[in-house]
């Protein structure tokens, strides 16, 4: 269990995760910086407000591009009083505490008039006084407290969605008002049946009911009519079809009966039906709204500005101004803005975004580099060969979009039921009409057939899925599992093949020291030598140990090793061949090097005073809960396979740790190969792809369902059907289990509502139905479905 490991390590003061050896108080530099910014601004109340602790991240960028005149022309508008306003997209906005933290910018940054957050859209509207402060200053504050801002690119889409949301809300309001008033009128009418009401009064009430019901409900139910007509045109059956038939029959028949002054009216039941359906629809819609789309993310993956070298002068220009052939300078920590070739300098790149490879790739003059990769070690100069959409990452994003669009909609369970339902009810109505016409009269036949159409209007059936799904999504969200909708749940409910990406999913996604052979004291010396280096291996060593020493006479050879003098002793740290050339290595050391390399780790040799004394094994460590989660999935009937961009040997090694056989570990898979693997497995059954990076996003789009885990790239989150907000992959098993339980609940709800429809239908066919019975049974059936949904064991705390 992980608890054992957790108790031995201190908990991070910001997020509560275990603090790795070599760090104190905070688990990572992100948490440390963010906690520092929170304390410096006196915002400690944040810790009392938040619901669940989560690790923070910050970019530490200067955001000077936000003050650029070109940027301001597009994104900033002037409001009254000479104030400026801009919309920003903020990362990691999750709960009340984030909201509070971000909005406190107006008190902490002088000159900020107001910051207003819209949690659902991850959007912040910032108003500031341009004479007192700059947008970059506010952006730095937001970044400092862990919410990196980006220019908000979804304004048009937001406007469109806002129009849709408002239209639906107005219909809900109209339906609700109609329902309330119709019920008051109906109570009078029902009371009149028993208490004796004059015929004139009753007629007046019936006319009043019609006056409210026909325009009110006719307007409010337009979304259902539209879907029903659309489905009919496409020759598909949709649940809205029986609903529309019921509503139209009820309104039409009721109005006819009011006009002719005889027969029953069902306006009150219909009003409740329309109101409940609209509310259910709105709740589901709210769960499905996401803040960003794939198309807008290409720009977020690559920087918006680049450093162009015009002769010897470096000019910062917007990325649109770059053409192939331009010579660009990329500093340490910057994202490479174009596909190109290195013409000066050498460095290590983090190419994980594109390939999923966890180890940095070394590049030197003549090597090709790709846009979206991060320069880790030293400044380089690059000549652009492709820019914008023609870059590899650009093509990848286009591919992801195309695959997502092609994703076939699944045949929803409820629509299958609805199809049969329409046929059965129409047939039953026809039979009822003919039988009663033959036995009694055509009028009675019409009356009973209409009553059948109205009372079997599948209200509970229509609520069965949205209620079960809403309960499941709400509970899952509280556990940190964000599910995009009913479809996603249905897709996850059938076991099949599950492909799991290694880096960032099963492993921590960061290079760390996982084994140490030899003299432990050498660690401190190695850290002293590496203390000034930005190389990922240096970072891994610094996380592993601390050092009281300082090194002098440091010489670093990029991608090979580093040497320095610590307290008069020469210390050499680096790749085996480089160290061998500078120090003697005992056969035991050589044995260790071979052993670690065999296990898929990167061996780093430490030599002290001309003699190799220790070997560190660097790898991406497996998450502590991964084994348990995978075993649980296998227990549910899933076939789990490893699909990684890392070296095949590394993939097999991780697979062995987790009990995945070598034949089910696919290493060295680039994004295209991942899609191919997924497509091949899809012919055999449902495929779920679990991953975190851009390199997994295309495979996620191609799979039946995609799951993105915590820390995933935005595009992976966008493509995925499920996003796990906690870093624990144990939630994958919980999600699959919850999806199965939700589908069980949906089936139970469908059965319950069908029983109601059967009973009401039988009463109507036999001619003993009365509007009062319909008015009582309809809410009863809806309440039964609600109770059944709440009782569901999907995503319960104890599951």
């Amino acid at each position: 269990m992980t608890a054992v490991a957790a108790t031995q390590l201190a908990a991070c003061a910001h997020c509560g995760l275990p603090v790795p050896a070599g760090r104190d108080t905070y688990c990572c530099s992100g948490c440390e910086i963010v906690a520092g910014a929170i304390a410096a601004n006196g915002l400690e109340q944040f810790y009392a407000l938040r619901e669940r602790p989560e690790p923070a991240s910050t970019t530490g960028r200067a955001y000077t591009e936000l003050d650029d005149a070109a940027f301001q022309r597009v994104h900033v508008d002037l409001v009254e009083g000479g104030m400026a306003h801009a919309a920003l997209y903020l990362e990691d906005l999750r709960c009340a505490a984030c909201l509070w933290l971000v909005e406190s910018a107006s008190r902490c940054v002088p000159g900020t008039i107001e910051v207003r957050v819209d949690l659902g859209r991850s959007r912040a509207d910032v108003t500031w006084d341009p004479r007192l402060t700059q947008l970059s200053r506010i952006a730095r504050f937001l970044d400092g407290v862990g919410h990196a801002p980006h220019p908000y690119r979804g304004l048009d889409r937001d406007r469109q969605r806002r129009r849709e949301d408002r239209a639906l809300l107005i219909k809900i309001g109209v339906a609700g008002a109609a329902m309330g008033n119709l019920m008051l009128l109906a109570i009078a009418l029902y009371a009149g049946v028993f208490g004796g009401m004059t015929r004139a009064d009753a007629t007046f009430f019936r006319w009043a009911s019609m006056f409210v019901a026909v325009p009110g409900l006719g307007y409010a139910a337009t979304p259902m009519f539209r879907t029903a007509i659309g489905a009919l045109r496409a020759h598909r059956l949709h649940l809205d079809l029986p609903l529309s038939i019921g509503i139209v029959a009820g309104l039409g028949w009721g109005a006819l009966n009011v006009l002719r002054g005889a027969g029953e009216i069902y306006f009150d039941s219909l009003a409740m039906l329309v109101f409940l359906l609209l509310v259910a629809r709105w709740v589901v819609l709210r769960h499905q709204r996401r803040a960003s789309t794939a198309a807008e993310l290409l720009l977020a993956l690559t920087p918006s500005r680049a450093r162009r070298m015009d002769g010897k002068v470096v000019v910062e220009v917007s990325i649109e101004a770059i053409v192939p052939g331009d010579r660009l300078q990329v500093l340490v920590g910057e994202v490479i803005p174009v596909d190109g070739m290195v013409v000066a300098g050498s460095s290590a790149l983090d190419v994980g975004l594109l390939t999923g490879e966890s180890r940095p790739s070394e590049v030197t003059v003549g090597d090709a580099v790709a846009a979206g990769t991060v320069n880790l070690a030293a400044p380089v100069e690059v000549v652009a060969t492709a820019v914008g959409e023609t870059t590899r990452v650009g093509k990848l994003v286009a591919n992801i979009e195309a695959l997502s669009a092609r994703k076939a909609p699944i045949e929803r369970l409820v629509d299958q039921v609805a199809g049969t339902f329409v046929k059965v009810v129409t047939l039953a109505a026809l039979v009822t009409f003919l039988a009663w016409s033959a036995i009694v009269s055509v009028a009675t036949g019409a009356e009973n057939a209409m009553a059948l159409l109205i009372v079997t209007c599948p209200c509970a059936l229509a609520l069965a899925t949205p209620l079960a799904v809403t309960v499941a999504l709400g509970r899952a969200a509280r556990r940190g599992v964000l599910i995009k909708g009913a479809d996603a749940l249905e897709r996850l409910a059938t076991p099949g093949t599950m492909f799991v990406d290694k880096t960032g999913t099963l492993t921590a996604g960061k290079l760390g020291v996982v084994s140490w052979r030899g003299d432990l004291d050498a660690a401190a010396l190695a850290v002293a030598v590496e203390s000034g280096s930005a190389h990922p291996i240096a970072r891994a060593l610094r996380t592993y140990a601390t050092s009281p020493h300082t090194a002098t006479q440091i010489e670093e050879e990029l991608g090979r090793g580093i040497a320095g003098t610590v307290a008069g002793i020469r210390v050499v740290v680096g790749a085996p061949p480089w160290v061998r050339a500078r120090a003697s290595a005992h056969p035991i050391i050589e044995g260790w090097i071979a052993e670690l390399a065999e296990r898929g780790e990167t061996p780093i040799v430490i030599a002290v005073d001309g003699r190799a004394v220790a070997v560190a094994g660097l790898a991406d460590p497996v998450r502590p809960d991964a084994r348990q989660a995978l075993d649980r999935l296998v227990g549910f009937g899933w076939r789990v396979e490893l699909l990684s961009g890392d070296d095949a040997r590394v993939a097999r090694c991780v697979g062995a740790t987790l009990g995945i056989g070598a034949e089910r570990c696919h290493g060295g898979a680039d994004p295209e190969a991942k899609v191919a693997h997924v497509a091949a497995a899809k012919r055999l059954g449902p495929v779920v792809m679990v991953g975190d990076g851009v390199n997994d996003a295309a495979a996620m789009a191609a799979a039946t369902a995609g799951i993105a885990v915590s820390g995933a790239a935005e595009i992976a989150i966008e493509t995925a059907d499920v996003y796990l907000r906690s870093p624990s992959i144990g939630d994958i098993a919980a999600t699959v289990c919850g999806a199965t339980a939700t589908l069980e609940t949906i089936r139970r709800n469908l059965r319950l509502s069908l029983i109601y429809n059967l009973t009401a239908g039988a009463l109507a066919i036999s001619g003993v139905i009365h509007p009062l019975i319909a008015a009582l049974v309809m809410p009863l059936s809806s309440l039964t479905v609600l109770a059944s949904s709440l009782r569901s064991r999907a995503f319960r705390e104890d599951s």
Partner: protein, 56 residues
Amino acid sequence: MIALYIVLPLAILIAGTAVAAFIWTVRSGQLDDVDSPPLRVLFDDSPPRATDDAAP
């Protein structure tokens, strides 16, 4: 029961006014964001410590 013939249309008229008011609130954007405002009322108004220094 003659009063009914005046009161009932009046009641429906009032309900209609309420619906019109609701439609106005939706159109003026007051219900666009239903997630953040209910959280915002939970926060205390007390200024952060950083600005306390300036207070007497």
